[in-house]
Each structure stands twice: as structure tokens, then as C-alpha cells.
């Protein structure tokens, strides 16, 4: 799952740094993720994992790292998280 997340961040995140330099736990906002790009990333994740993020996940914290995103997806779509 984290490979897919990484690919989506690469596509939508508009980060000024290479994805390969980012650890799973690293703060994406400090790496340059803007609130605009975060929404584009959410849309990409919803499409890729065929999920809809519930309201309570629509905040900064949920998308602050690869680990945090993975945890959100694992929570709303456990069957997809193993893939």
C-alpha cells in the first residue's frame, strides 16, 4: 500500500524534494506539501483505493505523513490495506 501512496504523492504532492529521500514517518508539510496539493492527493487516494475519506479524516493530521495516510486507509478499507 505504501508503494501506491508514494506514487500518488509523487504525482499529486508537488513536493520540491525527491520521494526517495522521504521516510514513511516524515512530515509531508515540512517537505513542502501545500493545502492545495493535499486535496489533490486526497482525490488521488480516493480514486486509487476506491474509498471516500469521512469528514473526521479531512484535516491536516490525517495526511501529514505516509504512515498517517496508510493508517487512514487501513481504518476505512482494511481489505485494501493488505494489498
Amino acid at each position: 500500500m505504501k508503494t501506491v501512496i508514494r506514487k500518488l504523492i509523487e504525482q499529486h504532492g508537488r513536493l520540491p524534494v525527491a520521494m526517495s529521500t522521504l521516510a514513511d514517518g516524515q512530515d509531508l508539510y515540512a517537505a513542502g506539501l501545500t493545502s492545495f496539493a493535499a486535496v489533490q492527493l486526497m482525490l488521488g487516494l480516493e480514486e486509487a483505493f476506491d474509498v471516500e475519506f469521512p469528514e473526521r479524516m479531512l484535516n491536516r493530521k490525517s495526511f501529514s505523513s505516509i504512515d498517517a495516510i496508510a493508517a487512514c486507509i487501513a481504518e476505512i478499507a482494511p481489505q485494501k490495506a493488505v494489498a
Binding site: Y29, A30, V39, M42, E46, F53, E55, L58, N59, R60
Partner: protein, 389 residues
């Protein structure tokens, strides 16, 4: 109704002083020195600060009521006071566990300091406050900062300025922090005048800001957290409150005008009466949405995560857009009622200043920029369909 009438009583004197000098402040585009001194004399600068640090722990609702009162009398004074309180809110919300900012809060309360704000930046940033070009440069235990600050209200009058900047020279534009610099720690080189239609007493000139201060004066949280958790709500609710004050005063002038007409010609309703009724209905809309916004904020404060949520951000943005538009519609309507007496300066029904001040509201962080942000969030956020929230 306010829960703290004591604050309103104390603000009443300052409001009277503000009203007295309002036209002069507007005509000369000068700082409302007398009204701001009256606010300090009434010890209203530090009221948001916790009691153990010398403040009164006043609620946002109470402070909004003071802003609304000032807005009825002198919009520039109200805006200066509101902007100061918005800055104080960031220190109160994010500085509680931070030794330097705790001591600073005590100073604000004891010395009645006035705080200014520098988010806006030249070089294409403008009101995009989530981005900076300038950066903090660490130098041992200190840092230096140079900012092309294209708008800082009352910069030469305040005692400290809270400035946004990138965390470090190699940080991306959105990785920002906010630092507090005291008057003795910065220089201001003026780059732009403030000769505007309205809000002339805010003296929001442009400067090259250059400062050096101990690193402990940088707030530990990312600025994005500060913006989401304290600035957004405080700015939009306090601006909205003072805009409500401008609108309420405009409607009150229109109402006096119509009443005087009605007295002159008993038995027939003046033409303007209908428009006063219409303005009153818009004023009610403005007031209700501001009260709902204050309630939303009070609830969000209790549920920690809510302040960071998209639904809260969208609510606060919509409140700003809605109240800034309503304000302009209301003043326009009042002008139609008062006619030439509203258009002229120096009559009891003059509305020129109200109209000019009001025109800043949709531009102060351009509504189109805000719509840009909310339209992005609405791609994923689903609106609450219920009537009650």
C-alpha cells in the same frame, strides 16, 4: 447580549473618543492615537490573556462585542483593535507552554502593548498567507529576518510585530513559522504609502522589515497550525464583528433619516422606509451568521480536532465572504435611503466613510482568493445537510 457587560462599559468611553476623532483620522489618514490611548486607559489590550498572566481570560465573544461597538464609531480604530487581538490570540493559543511567550503575555497585559502583523509579502505572495519567500536565518542562538512586507498596519505605532517566514533558507515556501519581534529588535524602511479609499486610520504602509532576535522568540508550532487553530477563526470573526458594527451604524443612520421624514409628513410612509426594512433584514442575516460562527468556534474549541477540520475552515471562510458582501449591500442600501444627505460628508446621515471602509472587506484577503481555497476543499468535503449543526 454580552455576558461581560463590564468590558462593554469600559469600551464605551473608548468608543466615544473614537467617534469624536473619526472624521479627522479618516481625512488625515492618521493613526487613531486618542482612541487607542483610551483603549489602553480602559486596560482593554490584554483582556484575552489568562488571569495568571495578568489578563482577564475574556472570550472571543466578548472581544467581538467590543469590536462591534468600536466598528459603529470608527472602523479604523476597530480594525486596529481587532488586528491586535488576532495577534494576541495566536500568542494565547500557542504560547501557553512556551517560556518566552508566557513572559511576553504578561508584558502585553501589564504594559498594554499593541501588536502588529506581517503576513503579506511582496514578490507575488500578496495575501497568500500560507506561503513565504523570506526565511529565518539562524545565527547561533539568534536569528535574522528580512522581509519585503508590502502591508503592515500601524507598523510604526506598535510595540511588537508577529512575522511569518519560511522556517529556514532551504525550507519550501509552505513550511513556515511565526516569530515575535519587539520594537527594539527590528527596523522598518518605508516602501509604500497608505493613501486609500477607506480604513485610512490603519496606516497600513509597506516596509522592508529587518530584524534580529533570540531564537526562542520563534513559535515552536508550524505556522500552518497557528493559522488553522487561532488566526483563521479570530480574524474572520473579529473582522466580521467590526464590519457588523459599520453596517449597524449605517442602518441606524438610514433609520433616523426615515424617521425624521416620517415626522415631517405624518400619515404617509416615506419611500425609504421599505429600504430600511430590507436593510434591517440583511443586518439580521449578518448578525445571525456571526453569532452562529462564534458558537461554532466555541464548540470547536472544546473538541480539539475540530479546529483543524475542513468543515471548520470552510465555515469560517464562508463567514468572511458572506459578512463582507452583506456589509457592502447594507451600506449601499442605507445610502439609497439617505440619498444626497448620505452622499455628502458632514451631515448626520453621511455614509461616505462607511462605504469606503466597507469596500476593504472583500479585498482584505481577496474573496476570490478565499473562494479559490474553499473550492479546492469542497472537492473532498461534503457539506452538512442538516438544518441544525
Amino acid at each position: 447580549m454580552t455576558r461581560n457587560s463590564n468590558l462593554l462599559d469600559r469600551a464605551a468611553d473608548a468608543a466615544a473618543v473614537a467617534a469624536k476623532y473619526c472624521d479627522e483620522v479618516d481625512a488625515q489618514s492618521r493613526f487613531p492615537t486618542e482612541a487607542m490611548q483610551a483603549l489602553k486607559d480602559a486596560r482593554l489590550m490584554g483582556i484575552m490573556i489568562p488571569r495568571d498572566l495578568g489578563g482577564e481570560a475574556a472570550s472571543l465573544r466578548d472581544i467581538a462585542e467590543v469590536c462591534a461597538l468600536l466598528g459603529q464609531n470608527c472602523a479604523s480604530t476597530a480594525m486596529v483593535y481587532a488586528m491586535h487581538q488576532i495577534k494576541v490570540s495566536s500568542v494565547v493559543s500557542h504560547g501557553a507552554d512556551h517560556p518566552w511567550h508566557r513572559a511576553f503575555m504578561a508584558c502585553i497585559a501589564s504594559q498594554q502593548l499593541l501588536l502588529g502583523s506581517s503576513t503579506t509579502e511582496g514578490g507575488g505572495i500578496g495575501g497568500d498567507l500560507g506561503n513565504s519567500i523570506c526565511a529565518i536565518e539562524r545565527d547561533g542562538d539568534e536569528f535574522t529576518l528580512r522581509k519585503d512586507a508590502s502591508v503592515i498596519s500601524y507598523a510604526t505605532q506598535c510595540d511588537a510585530i508577529l512575522v511569518t517566514a519560511r522556517r529556514a533558507p532551504d525550507a519550501p515556501g509552505s513550511d513556515q513559522v511565526m516569530a515575535t519581534l519587539l520594537k527594539s529588535q527590528y527596523t522598518l524602511e518605508k516602501t509604500a504609502e497608505w493613501d486609500t479609499l477607506g480604513m485610512r486610520g490603519t496606516c497600513s504602509e509597506g516596509f522592508i522589515f529587518e530584524g534580529r532576535a533570540p531564537a526562542e522568540q520563534i513559535m515552536p508550532q508550524p505556522f500552518a497550525e497557528i493559522a488553522a487553530r487561532s488566526m483563521l477563526a479570530h480574524a474572520h470573526l473579529l473582522w466580521g464583528a467590526l464590519w457588523y458594527g459599520i453596517a449597524a451604524n449605517a442602518v441606524s443612520r438610514a433609520q433616523s433619516y426615515v424617521r425624521a421624514e416620517a415626522r415631517k409628513k405624518p400619515g404617509q410612509n416615506p419611500v425609504g422606509a421599505l429600504r430600511v426594512a430590507e436593510a434591517a433584514s440583511m443586518l439580521q442575516l449578518m448578525r445571525s451568521s456571526l453569532n452562529a460562527g462564534l458558537e461554532r468556534f466555541e464548540k470547536a474549541q472544546l473538541a480539539n480536532d475540530d479546529l483543524n477540520s475542513m468543515s471548520f475552515a470552510i465555515d469560517m471562510c464562508n463567514l468572511k465572504i458572506g459578512s463582507s458582501r452583506l456589509l457592502n449591500d447594507i451600506v449601499q442600501q442605507a445610502m439609497m435611503v439617505c440619498g444626497i444627505n448620505g452622499y455628502k460628508n458632514g451631515t448626520p446621515y453621511s455614509l461616505g466613510r462607511h462605504m469606503r471602509d466597507a469596500m476593504s472587506a472583500p479585498l482584505m484577503i481577496n474573496n476570490d482568493r478565499i473562494f479559490g481555497n474553499t473550492s479546492n476543499m469542497l472537492l473532498v468535503h461534503r457539506l452538512d445537510q442538516r438544518l441544525a449543526s
